[in-house]
């Protein structure tokens, strides 16, 4: 036995008192697993990733990625992005585009007294509040605007915190909103307050990731022709997502790692996935602030139901309480020639209980973007009774 093994055994004996009976086999002589061939280790991790496919068991996959560097590399390689697998795994999953083939079903719980909103991934088909926590938002009213701070940790909602994900800011009237990402959404992104003018190249990993606020979505609400008697019009300009993303062979930017600190950690893992040749075209110039080429979403117009005397949208059972806040977003025809991809509902939001709302989203938007857009629906006063 090497010195290292002996030292580990000794320290383990100290811990032994705290371990219960089932842990006995973990103690003593286990130090030689460290040189298990990579392909065998990969087999073990593959099995875990495959069997722990739903929450809460999926936490075991995250735990395996935290064991040590070599494990993290293997797990990160095994775990597929939500776009392909339909599964959320690491915190960064909430910032990656949803699945292409189906809507990911989530729900939002509102707490009026604390002015907070919690987003959960639904775990059952029923409209109950049984879910995996994803994001939390807290409303903060200011003299000229309202901010919703969005965080990965419900207990920690401060902007400077390492768990800060982004925010939604509304204008004074509550008619226009901007979603900000705390991390650069793609290479070449420019911040509104540029602390450093450094642009991040796709293939490079910068030693310091500019940590700030990157505008990624502009939302606006309008009354329609019928004024406040009719459903409002909603438009979302997804600055960080190209219109081509929804076409055949389209690609949406995907962040690869969550910056829990202001320093770029895990430098062996690039911040961005380089997905296909299409990315180079997209990244030829910064998109933020420019409307050309960005994906535009609009809400699907409800139909007037003469017998029921109300505006109706088919929410496929996912929304059960009528509310002006309910909406379905589809790709706007102005993105390009209309095709079947323009029929797909990309985001759907609606009330199912007093403080309970469902949120279903899919590619090319992420859970974070979807959440922020839904929050704007809470806030706007347009056409509210």
């Amino acid at each position: 036995m090497t010195i290292k093994c002996i030292a580990r055994l000794r320290s383990r004996r100290v811990v032994q008192d705290q371990l219960d009976g089932s842990d006995q086999e973990a103690v003593g002589g286990g130090c030689c697993w460290a040189n298990l061939p990579q392909e065998l280790l990969r087999e073990v991790l593959l099995r875990i990733e495959d069997s722990e496919s739903i929450w809460p068991q999926r936490k075991n996959v995250v735990a395996c990625a935290g064991v040590c560097r070599s494990w993290r590399v293997i797990v990160k390689e095994i775990v597929k992005v939500p776009e392909l697998s339909g599964k959320l795994t690491f915190p960064i999953s909430v910032k990656q585009p949803g699945p292409k083939d189906c809507l990911l079903q989530c729900f939002i719980k509102r707490n009026r007294s604390t002015q907070t909103y919690h987003l959960y991934l639904g775990l059952t088909n029923a409209l109950t509040d049984d879910g995996k926590f994803l994001l939390a938002a807290r409303k903060s009213r200011r003299p000229t605007c309202t901010d919703y701070i969005i965080s990965i940790r419900a207990e920690d909602m401060s902007k400077g915190s390492s768990t800060y994900v982004g925010k939604l800011r509304s204008n004074f009237l509550g008619t226009k909103f901007t979603v900000f990402d705390g991390q650069p959404p793609h290479a070449g992104a420019k911040m509104t307050k540029s602390r450093s003018s450094r642009l991040v190249n796709l293939k490079q990993v910068s030693p310091r990731v500019p940590f700030g606020n990157y505008p990624i979505t502009h939302i606006s609400y309008e009354l329609n022709m019928l004024g406040s008697r009719g459903p409002r019009k909603m438009q979302c300009i997804m600055d960080s997502i190209p219109a081509t993303s929804i076409g055949p062979g389209g690609v949406a930017p995907t962040q690869a790692e969550f910056s829990f600190s202001k320093v770029d950690l895990f430098p062996s893992i690039p911040i961005f996935h380089s997905k296909s040749a299409g990315m180079e075209n997209f990244l030829s110039g910064p998109l933020s602030g420019q409307k050309d080429g960005a994906l535009v979403l609009r809400n699907k117009a409800p139909r007037w139901h003469e017998q029921l005397q109300c505006w109706c949208l088919n929410f496929h059972g996912r929304v059960t309480v009528a509310s002006v806040k309910n909406f379905q977003l589809v790709a706007s025809p102005e993105n390009g020639p209309a095709g079947p991809e323009h029929e797909k509902i990309i985001l759907q939001f609606g009330k199912v209980g007093k403080d309970l709302f469902t949120m279903d989203y899919r590619y090319p938007i992420s859970a974070f973007q979807a959440f922020a857009i839904c929050l704007s629906s809470f806030d706007t006063k347009i056409a509210c009774e």
């Binding site: 065998l40 073990v44 064991v67 040590c68 926590f133 950690l265």
Partner: protein, 170 residues
């Protein structure tokens, strides 16, 4: 391999610690490494096959496993047989400590016994599921090679993953 083999032709295997095991041909053929050797060298007249990567303790356990599974396969398939196989596999693994489990995996990999290797890999996966990062590190004797900053990020990542779920019994 001589086609005029006597029914119970035996093959001798010599382990790393110089023990010799005589096994029936049928069992030796469960080791794909050995089967391949004989397939590619049909006229081989080697009486003893050296296995420098396998200890006697391991080999005797592996032989037992293959013998039992051969016997199971010889019987008619039924759900009760499946149940017996499952129970056998569970017992095979349960009593093994960490070190011998690992030795078995390496030996099964070397001898290329797919079913056994799959079963052992699954057993390890099951042992570390639902355990914390610290437990897995202890179990595998792995060093935490993260910087303090990275460790903090891992902790935040795990906090998010474990949020609202039952704490593990660790």
């Amino acid at each position: 391999m001589s086609m005029a083999a006597v029914e119970t032709k035996k093959i001798t295997l010599r382990t790393a610690d110089n023990h010799e095991f005589e096994v029936e041909e049928a069992i030796a053929m469960e080791f794909s490494t050995i089967k391949t050797f004989f397939d590619e060298n049909p006229d081989a007249s080697e009486d003893t096959i050296p296995l420098p990567n396998v200890t006697s303790k391991c080999l005797s356990a592996i032989i037992e496993y293959c013998k039992s599974h051969l016997a199971f396969r010889a019987r008619e398939t039924s759900s009760s047989i499946d149940e017996q196989v499952r129970t056998y596999d569970e017992e095979f693994v349960k009593a093994r400590d960490n070190e011998s489990l690992k030795e078995l995996i390496l030996a099964a990999n070397y001898l290329n016994i797919k079913a056994l290797l799959d079963m052992l890999n699954q057993a390890v996966a099951d042992r570390i599921k639902n355990k914390s990062v610290e437990y897995v590190r202890r179990f595998f004797g792995l060093e935490n090679d993260y910087t303090p900053e990275e460790e903090a990020a891992i902790r935040a990542e795990n906090e998010w993953a474990f949020e609202g779920v039952d704490p593990d019994d660790d």
